[in-house]
Structures are given as C-alpha cells and as structure tokens.
Amino acid sequence: MTARATITRRHALGLAAGAVLLPCLGHAASGRRVAVIDWAGLETALALGIVPVAATELIQFRKVVVEPEVPDSVIDLGLRGTPNYEALTLAEPDLILTSNYYEGQRASLQRVAETLSLPIYQPGVPPYTPAEDAALALGRALGREAEARAFVAGAEAEIARLGDSLRGVVRRPVLAINFGDARHVRAFGDDSMFGTVLQRLGLHNAWASQSSYSAAAPLGIEALARMPDAITVVVPPLPPDVVRGLDDSALWQALPMVREKRVSVIGPVNHFGGLPAALRFARLVTAALLRPETARHG
C-alpha cells in the first residue's frame, strides 16, 4: 500500500514536472537514487557505473570535465553554489553526494535526502589519497565495493605504467598552469590533484610552492621566467582572447619555454576533480610529453 502510494506520487510529480523519467534509470546497483552536488563526486560515481538521477552544472561539466560522459537522463540541478532544490526534490533522490566545500548547503540538502560528504580537497593535503578514499567510501555506500576497489587499483596501475613510459624520456621539471587571462596564470602545486599526479608519474613539479586554493589566477606571466627549464603544460579553459593576447605579448614570446617550444596545451580536465580526473590528467599529460616536439627537449 505504502509502496504503491509512493509510486503514484512519484509518477504524479514526474508528470507534473513534465519529466518523462522512468524510475529505474536513476537506480544504482543497490537500487538507490543518487543525486550529486560536487563534481568530483559526479565523476567518481559515473566511473563506478552509477548513473545519478540529477547533478549540478551539466552544461559546463560536459565542456570542462568531458569524461566520464554524463547520460542524457541526468537532470541538471543548476549551479553548484546554488543548486535548485525544487528540481532536486522532484528528482526524488535518496542519497545526495556532496563535499566539504558545500557545508553551507548541508542542512537544506538533508531536507531532501541523506547526504554523503566526500572530502577530497583540504588545504595542504595532497588530494590523491583522499580521492581514492572517496571512491572506496562511495563504493561501500552504494554496494559497489568490488568495482571501487578495482577502479582504485586500476588507476594506480595505469598511472604507474604511464610513469614508466616517461622514465628516461622527460628529465626536465614540468609545470602545469591554467590561464586566467592573457596576463595571469594559476600554477598547480603539490597540494593540487595535478601536482600530485605529476609526482606519481615520477616527474618533478616545477612549481615548488603550494597552489593557492582560490580559483584566482594570481601569478603574473613574468613568474614563469623563474622556471626557465620547465616543460609547461597548459590546462584549459583557454579563451580565444587569451590566445590573441599571448601572440601579442613580447614577454610571453621571450620566455625560454615558449621560444624553445616547450609548451603544450592539453585537453580539458576538471581542476578540482576526483580519481577519474587524476587518471585523465595523467593520460593527457603523458601524451603531451611524449609528442615528438616536446620529447626532443626531454
């Protein structure tokens, strides 16, 4: 009786919202309907084969994070900072994945369903191990422990394999940066996912200090001159006016890494991602470093 009432209500809500959504689509193996606020959580869930019923900022996620791919059935909840609680309620999740950056929303989220916080980024802590822990915790919560363990082990093995392929080829330090505008960059330090992955690949991260946690890009381009030896890997987004600005920039053109063509732009990857982003970055950066024109400078 109760079950029937629930289904009827869900059906009514779905119809009223105009969503033609079959309930089974959002079910994980455990039969739980999962909604995701944090992008790192979304990546990790998808990598474990869990299709959430709803998640945040999907337009941008498909552009910035790229893989794992988000099925069309997932409902967009709007901005991560201000998720749309009406849409979230209508999606009827029974578990919501969040992280320590969304503590302020926890009270509201808990009104919809139970929450699971998967903290990956904490100031001063290399995020790779927390990302592994997050994947394992998610596996436990959703009855996908075996998949989670396999994924963690697989990621570690693949990063090790990629590292082997670079051994002896790349001896220079590597610098991972992202452009804020044509005059400012953000450099990724050892407390960032990219910095940690560089380390795991057996590479030397040229940016010795910690990366600032803000999404600000507070370094002037001239700071790159302090690392004349580095091979530079540019992480998108790279807006067109930045490219034009760099073409006109006497300083950029004079930098040793630019003159000697030791700069490569990799595909988009989530800056604050989970284990799938770490793996994607490892693949992208290895491919970029093994490209003949870069490898020449090894």
Partner: protein, 662 residues
C-alpha cells in the same frame, strides 16, 4: 594658517609620491641587480626582458590609467555640475564591462579587432541611457547619480548573470571584474597615453566653455556657449578615456571619484589647477596602490586585484580628508527631493500596495518553471514545493521590508534622499562583521553571525553619522563618505574572497545574495526579527517628523535629539544587518522603496514607512521569483531583478513628479 595647510598638503602628496617611487625602485632593482645565485646563461637576458616588457610598462600603465580616470572624473563632475559624477557612478565602467562580456560570449571575432570600440559602445550606451532618463529633470545631480547607480548596478549584475548563465566559474566575476595591472608589452600604456594626451588637449581647449558650464544653464547660454554641443563633446571625451582604461586593464574603481575630490581638497581652486592636479593625483593613487599590491604579493601571487585595492588606499584617505576641510565648495548638490504630491487618501494607497504584495506572494508560491515549462502547481505537488518556496518567499519579503524600513529611517535622519543602507556602506559593513565572525569563531552559529553583522552595520553607520554631524558636513560629503566606506568594505571582502578558503566560499555565496538556502528555521527567524523591529517603527514616527526640521527646533519642542539619533541608527543598523544576512548587501531595495512610497503620495513618516515596507517586501518577492525561474534550473543574482524592476519605475516617477511641480 591657510599657507601652512597648503604646505602640509604638498608635503602629504610628495610623501605619497616618494613612497610610490620607492616601491617602483624596489621592483626595478629586483630585476636589474646582479643575481645572487648562479643562473643559467640567458637568465640575465630574461631579467632584462621582464624589466622592459613587464615591470616598466606596469608602472607606466598605472600612471597613465590613473591620470586618465582622474581626468575623466573631473570632466564629468564639471560638465554635469555634480561632485559624485565619475566613470563608476555613471555606469561607464560597468557598461563597458557588460559590452565586453557580451562580445566575449557572442562575438569573439569582433573582440579580436575592436575591443576598445566595444567597450566604448557599452560606456556610451550607459551614459546615454542615464542622460536620456534624467534629461527632463535638467540633469539634476541627484537624479543623475540615482540613475547612474541603477544603470551601473544593473550592468554589473547583467555581466554576472551572463557569466553565470553560461556556466563560467563563479569566482571569475569577482576577481577578473577587478582591474589588474600586470603587463607584458607597452601596447596598453601607449593606447591609454594617446587617449590621455588627446583628452588633456581637449580639456585645455574647452577650458573656457567648461568654466562657464560650471555656472547655470542660463548664464552659460547668455555667454554664448553652445551648451549641448559642448556638454556632449566633453562627456564623449570623458567616456572614451574611461572606456579605453576598462578595455585595457579592467574596471578600476574609485580613482575617478577620489582624484578630483582630493585635488579640490588639496587646494586646487581654478579650472587650470584642477585640470593639472586631478590627473596627477589619479596617477599617484593608482601608482602607489599598485606598488603596495605588488609589495604585499607573496611568491604565490597577488592577494587583491589592484582595481579593488584602490579603495583600500583611497577610501581612508578621502574619509580622513573630508572632515578636515573647511573651505569645501562643491558646485551645490541640491539634495532636497522635489516636492511630491501627497495623496488625499493615503490608506487606500497602502491597501493597494498590500494587495499587490499579496498577489506577488501568491504568484511566487504557486507559479514556477520546471523541466516541462511554466507550471501552476496545485495539490500534492504544491505541498512538496511549498517546503522550498515558503521559506524563500518569507525571507525575501521580510528582508525587503527591513531594507526598505532602514532606507526610510536613514533618508529621514540624514535628510538626504540618496541615503540608504546600500549607498552608505551599511550592507557591506555588515559583510565585514560577518567576515570577522567567520574567521575568528571556529563554526559561528546563526546568532553569532547575526550579532557580528549587526555590529559591523551599526559601527559603519555610526561612523557615517558621526561624520555627518560635524559642522558644515553637507549631504554631498556624507554621500562621498558613504561611497568611500562602501568601496573600502567591498575591497576588504574581495581581498578575503581571494584567499579561496572555505570561509571565502561561504562569503562569496553570501555576497551574491541568494535566498536559496533559506529553510523553515531561517524563515521563522527572519520573519520574527522583521516583525519585532518593524513594530518599533510607529514609535519613531514623531521623531522622524521633527528631526529633519533641525536640531534647534527639535530641542525646543523637548526632543532628546542625541538619544533619538542613537536609537534610530541602532534600529537602522539592526534592520540592515538582519536583512543583509539573508539576501546579501547588493539589493538597492533600501534606496528605492522609500522613494517609491514617497513619490506615490505617502508623505508622512508612518505612512511612508508602511508603504515602503510593503513595496520593499513585494519587490523583493518578485525579484526572487524571477531570479529563480528565468534561467531554470540555473539561479541568477537577486539584485539584478531588483534593479531591473524598480530602477526604470523610479526614474519615470522622478521625471513625472518634476513635471507636476511646474
């Protein structure tokens, strides 16, 4: 005496210039000195490249951009006879930024070739709009500044909404919106320098017509000045200067306002002196600020964008100088609101506002936009959604009502029609209090947050009022001080947000003003505070009627003036803090609602208060509803819709009331 003061000021500016020069020499020396550690062979050459293409052009661009903004501000203030006119208050920078954002999103090819043209078009459009809106009021200063701030706020919010709706990351708005001066070539310096030279040339050619424009229209016409042609010419030059600065280095606040004011305060009396002093002071302000920003930058980068930091330096400077000046002769800012018609049946009007408010609430509760389009929710679906919509609507209504009441109190206490929590910096002051709570207390509860915001708001307000009570501190000076304080508090907030800690994230969410997180507890609390505080309004009605008549009159009828003021300030501070805690500092409702009530015909304090409270609450509910539905499921800034809804109506009313009084 006067001479000593003049000498002191010259000493002050020379000191500041020396400090700026020392900072620059330090930066240059960092790259010109022999390296202490062995470096690869081309490191020295690279240091030369950095010095020539980055360090030196950065100093140069600070100087020319500061000078250009100073000159632009001076020209605008002169030609509009308005001490508060400048590129930011007239929406030039915000308009240019909006145009650049639009261009970047929808016409990237155009941006490659005509960046400056796009910025100029945006700036001109903003100023054109403001002039068109206030033309019938004879470009009266109060109306121009009101319209300008409205257009500027709407454009800023519009840029933010565009960036958000396109899914760009939230931080970029706050950080890249602030101008940054890092350079990699001499291009921007040369571009701005050429504009500056043309601007200075034009200003000197127009010196005589400009001086005459400082008089009133009739005298200007009788002296044979082609009034409108000259006016538009000067405005065009000023807008061009500001727009090219925005296109090259981003929005740099405060210099355009502060430089001419500081020039005046420093004793530049004649037109020629000011034309020299304002650009020089603007250049010095920006040069020094940028030097300090670089000095405080760590190895991991700069903490604050220079465009925001100008307020950290210029704000206190202006606040310190303002009360110290006796001979402060602005072109008078007629701050008395135009007499407006009083309704014969005020309570009918109030009933009408109440009905409209109820309709707004009903609309916001039942109508929504979902995955399937617009829906009118009923039955069990409505029950589910009410759990979210109910608290949102309650919080929006209560916050709007409180801001409106605070605005009404402030406008009456200061006898200044432009006073409002937003303009006097009370909302951002509450934000600084909140920041302190977030960083000093490990996990501040709601009570602590409210107490800290209230403390911030009341302290800011008390400082403003203490300034305004000084002899000869006219309404213009209060507004200048308020804008300085507001800019100062915003700069503090920007600096904190740039740290990127989880506290910063919480603060950013607060600043963008969203009722999204409102839960049942919040709504009871907010409604309770609002009811409690608003219930005291009737008790203040008598004071509000008497205080604007002047202290002497007030005392003669036995009113304890000082105690009344303190209580009213406390009340306004509490109202603002409670509201800002829920909807952020950038709403404009506190400025607009009291005016709408007054212009609709509610003249007496209590009637105006009730009217403003109803209008403020209703407007906020509708704005919140629009913010929630327009880009579903993405939510837009609340303040955008508050400004879009109320701004044009306010301007129209201002024009209409003027037409009637003639």
């Amino acid at each position: 005496m006067a001479e000593r003061v003049a000498v002191n000021r010259i000493l002050l500016w020379s000191g500041l210039a020396l400090a700026a020069a020392a900072l620059s020499i330090r930066q240059i020396a960092g790259h010109a000195a022999a390296p202490s550690i062995p470096l690869p062979p081309d490191a020295a050459w690279l240091d030369g490249v950095i010095l020539y293409h980055s360090v030196l052009p950065r100093i140069a661009v600070a100087l020319v951009a500061g000078a250009a903004l100073g000159l632009s501000g001076l020209l605008l203030q002169r030609v509009l006879r308005n001490p508060l006119a400048e590129p930011s208050t007239l929406g030039v920078s915000a308009g240019a930024q909006l145009a650049l954002t639009l261009g970047m999103l929808y016409a990237p090819a155009l941006m490659n070739h005509a960046r400056e043209g796009v910025a100029l078009a945006g700036g001109l459009a903003a100023v054109g709009l403001i002039l068109a809106m206030t033309w019938r009021r004879g470009l009266e200063p109060v109306a121009v500044v009101l319209a300008g701030m409205m257009v500027a706020l709407t454009a800023t919010m519009g840029s933010a909404a565009l960036i958000l709706a396109n899914g760009e990351y939230l931080f970029s708005i706050f950080l890249w919106g602030g101008g940054a001066l890092a350079q990699q070539s001499w291009g921007p310096t040369m571009t701005i320098a050429v504009r500056l030279l043309i601007g200075v040339g034009a200003a000197f050619l127009l010196m005589r017509p400009l001086a005459i424009l400082g008089l009133d229209d009739a005298s200007a016409r009788s002296l044979g000045v082609a009034l409108n042609a000259t006016r538009f010419g000067v405005i065009g030059v000023a807008v061009w200067l500001a727009a090219s600065v925005t296109a090259e280095v981003g929005v740099i606040g405060f210099v355009g306002l502060a430089a001419p004011a500081l020039a005046h305060l420093s004793g530049a009396r004649t037109q020629g002196q000011r034309l020299v002093a304002a650009p020089l002071i603007g250049a010095l302000l920006l040069w020094l600020t940028d030097g300090l920003v670089q000095l405080l930058a760590g190895v991991d980068g700069e903490r604050v964008p220079t465009g925001a930091a100008t307020a950290l330096l210029g704000g206190p400077l202006l606040l310190w100088l303002l009360p110290r000046l006796r001979m402060f002769e602005w072109p008078s800012l007629n701050s008395r609101p135009a007499p407006s018609r009083r309704s014969a049946r005020p309570y009918r009007l109030i009933a009408l506002f109440a009905i409209l408010g109820a309709v707004a609430v009903g609309l916001a509760l039942t109508v929504g936009y979902g995955p399937g389009g617009w829906t009118l929710s009923t039955g069990p679906l409505l029950d589910t959604l009410l759990g979210w919509r109910g608290p949102r609507v309650t919080v929006a209504a209560a916050a709007g009502a409180m801001l409106a009441a605070a605005g009404m109190l402030l406008q009456r206490v200061t006898a200044n029609p432009l006073a409002s929590p937003e303009i006097l910096g009370v909302g951002t002051g509450a934000g600084v209090g909140l920041t302190a709570a977030l960083f000093l207390v490990a996990a501040p509860g709601f009570g602590v947050q409210l107490a800290a915001s209230a403390a911030g708001a009341v302290l800011t307000l008390a400082a403003m009022l203490a300034l305004s009570l000084r002899a000869g501190f006219g309404p213009e000076r209060l507004l200048l001080a308020g804008i300085a304080m507001s800019a100062l508090c915003s700069a503090v907030l920007t600096a904190v947000i740039a740290t990127g800690t989880p506290q910063a994230f919480a603060l950013l969410r607060w600043l963008s003003g969203s009722t999204n997180e409102a839960g049942p507890g919040d709504s009871w609390f907010c409604a309770g505070v609002a009811a409690l505080l608003l219930a005291t309004l009737p008790l203040t009605a008598k004071w509000l009627e008497i205080l604007p008549l002047g202290d002497v009159t007030a005392r003669s009828i036995g009113l304890p003036v000082r105690r009344c003021r303190v209580l009213l300030v406390l009340l306004a501070g509490l109202l603002t803090a409670a509201a800002a805690l829920f909807v952020g500092p950038l709403s404009f409702i506190g400025l607009i609602a009291p005016h709408l009530a007054r212009l609709a015909g509610l003249g007496r304090p209590l009637q105006q208060g009730i009217g403003a409270v109803l209008i403020g609450g209703g407007l906020m509910v509708v704005s919140d509803w629009l913010a929630r539905t327009v880009a579903f499921p993405y939510q837009l800034p609340l303040g955008l819709f508050a400004a879009l809804l109320a701004g044009p109506y306010l301007i129209w009313l201002l024009g209409r009331s003027d037409a009637r009084s003639h």
